[in-house]
């Protein structure tokens, strides 16, 4: 109860200034704690009994809630339909809510109405240790250092620091060696497209005839044989293509001579900004929008950037048709697809 003492001294110190005559102080002084105002429950035993009943009732709500959780768990499993899943989730959650909120509100209500609301004052002390303690600490450290002889035996200091500095390598070297797989960052340069690879529908993998691609159509394309690849998902992440057919009269430019086939153009779907799949094709404006950061590319104009944060056009996949009339690639992309990186042009 020492705090009570400090409170009273504080209060008298603060209270005195008002009675002091003489020149006015530079600043106001702290008037000290306000007198305690009793609550209804402090004065009226009826109110206190009422509060007690309320707290008990709230705990009761919690108990009922917990029982509710058990009932809901048994009686309302998620089942096979969306509606039964929703019911299960709702009832379990609502019961859990009651079970928790009952305890929470009961405890707070108890504290607010029935526990003492007399404010308590505790003194603070400066954070720093006293000069004696500091001196003592320094002396202890000095003694230890002296005893170890680290200052006198220089060779020990050097040897110890070297050993401690080097030992993390024992963990770091194997980790760094393995964490990046084969570290073959040259893989960014190539995709699985090559001369003669058929363009197929995503995800079915069926090949596409040129005449299937009517004006205004948009096809999401993957290379033929993608799923036979060992790392097909990495290959897909680089090889996906969006193919559309424009009226050849609308085609303003393309990235390479003869890279389109009769108004059919194919571009990498991986944004040159940070790599989202760019796929919102507006067939009237021939604009292609990225839903992630709104880079907009003009498909009719070599996928030039017309808006947004991307800097470079989407790489174009040169295409033609094979003997059977199926669309095929003329080659891989002529530049790395996707976002920029340091050695991209090297």
């Amino acid at each position: 109860m020492s705090t009570e003492h400090s409170q009273s001294t504080e209060l008298t110190a603060a209270a005195t200034h008002r009675d002091v005559a003489g020149p006015l102080p530079e600043r106001f002084e702290n008037p000290g704690l306000e007198p305690h105002r009793p609550r209804l429950t402090d004065e009226d035993p009826g109110a206190a009994r009422r509060a007690t009943r309320q707290v008990a009732a709230l705990f009761g709500v919690s108990v009922l809630g917990t029982i509710g959780v058990i009932v809901a768990h048994v009686a309302f499993p998620p089942g096979d339909s969306v509606a039964s899943m929703r019911t299960s989730n709702l009832l379990l959650g609502a019961a859990l809510f009651l079970s928790l909120i009952g305890i929470g509100t009961a405890a707070v209500h108890w504290a607010k109405t029935l526990m003492s609301d007399h404010e308590v004052v505790e003194a603070r002390h400066p954070q720093k240790s006293s000069p004696e303690v500091r001196e003592g600490a320094i002396a202890v450290l000095r003694e230890g250092a002296e005893d170890s002889g680290i200052a006198r035996r220089g060779v020990l200091k050097g040897a110890m620091i070297s050993a401690l500095a080097l030992f993390p390598l024992g963990l770091a070297v194997p980790l760094i060696g393995e964490v990046g797989g084969d570290w073959n960052v040259g893989a960014f340069r190539h995709t699985m497209w090559k001369r003669g690879t058929r363009l197929t529908r995503d995800p079915s993998g069926t090949p596409i005839k040129a005449e299937d691609v009517t004006v205004g159509s948009a096809f999401h394309v993957i290379p033929d044989g993608l799923r036979e690849q060992e790392h097909w998902i990495e290959e897909k992440a680089k090889a996906v293509v969006l193919m559309v057919r424009l009226d050849p009269a609308d085609l303003k430019s393309e990235q390479g001579e003869g890279w389109s086939y009769d108004g059919i153009v194919a571009f990498s779907k991986i944004c040159t900004h940070v790599g989202c799949p760019v796929a919102l094709y507006e067939q009237q404006t021939h604009h292609l929008l990225c839903p992630c950061h709104q880079s907009t590319f003009d498909i009719a104009d070599g996928a030039r950037v017309v808006f947004g944060p991307a800097s470079r056009p989407l790489p174009q996949l040169p295409i033609t048709v094979d003997d059977e009339g199926y669309l095929v690639a003329q080659s891989d992309f002529h530049e790395p697809i996707g976002p920029s990186y340091w050695e991209r042009l090297k």
Partner: protein, 571 residues
Amino acid sequence: MSQNTTQSRGATAAAATADYLDQRTGIGIAVKNFARKVFPDHWSFLLGEIALYSFLVLVLTGIFLTFFFVPSMGMTVYEGPFAPMDGVEMSEAFASVLNISFEVTGGLLIRQIHHWAALLFIAAIVTHMMRVFFTGAFRKPREVNWLVGFVLMLLGLAAGFSGYSLPDDVLSGNGLRIADGVARSIPIVGSYASFLLFGGEFPGEVIIPRLYAVHILLVPGLILALVGLHLLLVVLHKHTHYAGPGRTERNVVGYPLFPVYVAKAGGFFFIVFGVLALMGATMTINPVWNYGPYDPSPVSAGAQPDWYMLFLEGGLRLMPGQGTEWVIAGFTIPMNILVPGVIIPGLLFTVLGAYPFVEAWVTGDRREHHIAERPRNNPVRTGVGVATLTAFFVLVVAGSNDILATHFGLSINDITWVLRVALIVAPPVAFWATKRICLGLQRKDRELVLHGHETGRIVRFASGEYIEVHRPLDEYERWVRVAHEPKRPVALLPAYDERGVRRKGYRRDALRARVSRIFFEDRVDPVTPAELVAAQAHGEHDALPSASAEPVGALPAAEAAVDRGADAHQA
């Protein structure tokens, strides 16, 4: 009668247990010291508790989820009751999330509570940080604890992002792809950073297990340790309190830990958990079954990260791409990604972490502060905070621009342009407006102290004059408005000392004086007793000239002394 015996029997048992423990741990000392520890009562001091309790809920629900989640990218075919997913090829991670959501009773509820708690965790951290910032509760001796809290916020972001990606759905997969794009943009090491993350090319087969380790072991472990440190420091420092009657820099006024705070804080944990349960019961969050299993080809409209990452997303959206990809000596430096993805967040976080040290340097104040300031009493700090929040808000809005476009029938291009301008214009405007509002509120405080409350009672004198009767403030009410100390810019000592030798460190001091002037040149001082006496003696509203924005040259002697003192300390 029987009641009495059970009670005493219970008490005996408790005493025996306590004795057993104390003999083996000496826990009596801790109980004696902690049980009556005083915590001040204020709603804004509970914001950090919301964060703490969200974290506890995250741990509890997270443990539940680990029992069912399979952190594997191996392919499987899901068979289950949800028709659009039945018979679909997907990773085992995604399949296990569907299993949790549709087949484990209560699984969906726990999953939804977990995700809501994650969003709430960071919302509470940010709000708590705002409270600490705006009330100057980061000042000595709490700078280190600010840093601990700051690192906790970063860890919260890391926990959130790693968890968001675990279900291996299309939405979070595209988020990872963006992370990959940003990592690649880093000069020299970018490609290797990407390989390091994904164990090879994106997406690879290891990112989910790796994120799992980060999400359930590394980050929560660090958070737990730092939360411990954070709370330990709170106990060591004792909580700040607001200025008020009886509250000083040398005491702490409030309620004892046991029983009041145990009940209030403990009760609040259940309230936080209860609200989260209610949200999990009624509001769908992260419906991965809508997004589908990850596949590098598709993407859906509304491709956004969780709210706390939206500012990064917004930066990426606002940055114009034309001419911002530099090629120097054949090496590519994509500034369109580096600026919003690396440089701006880097700067923002550095400034945020370093702010207490910057302000300490500017004010040259080496004293301990335990009274939390009212935000209005430090207009420049409050302005800086609001300006930063404004920039953050603009970026968050930018990150939601497509949703705004569809919901308000606007053009996405127009929104982007408006926000590009707003990002540059709005923060200074917000700073200026906030500072003015703070100064205005301080003047309002002066008015109130000098002239009291308006009572609405009009009195007519015999002379025919009408006045409104004002009721003076009582001393407790007044104290809240006059407790803060008047602030002055630090004075600059001359460049040359009396012997005409150029003083060392003059430049640094000059810079400090300049920044300090920005902070404290425009100010409103608290009412002094003399001013109050004068006002009451005149009994008129306009008895005193308004005391704002005095020029620095007109400092009274006492204040000049304060300045000198601060300088002497610095020297």
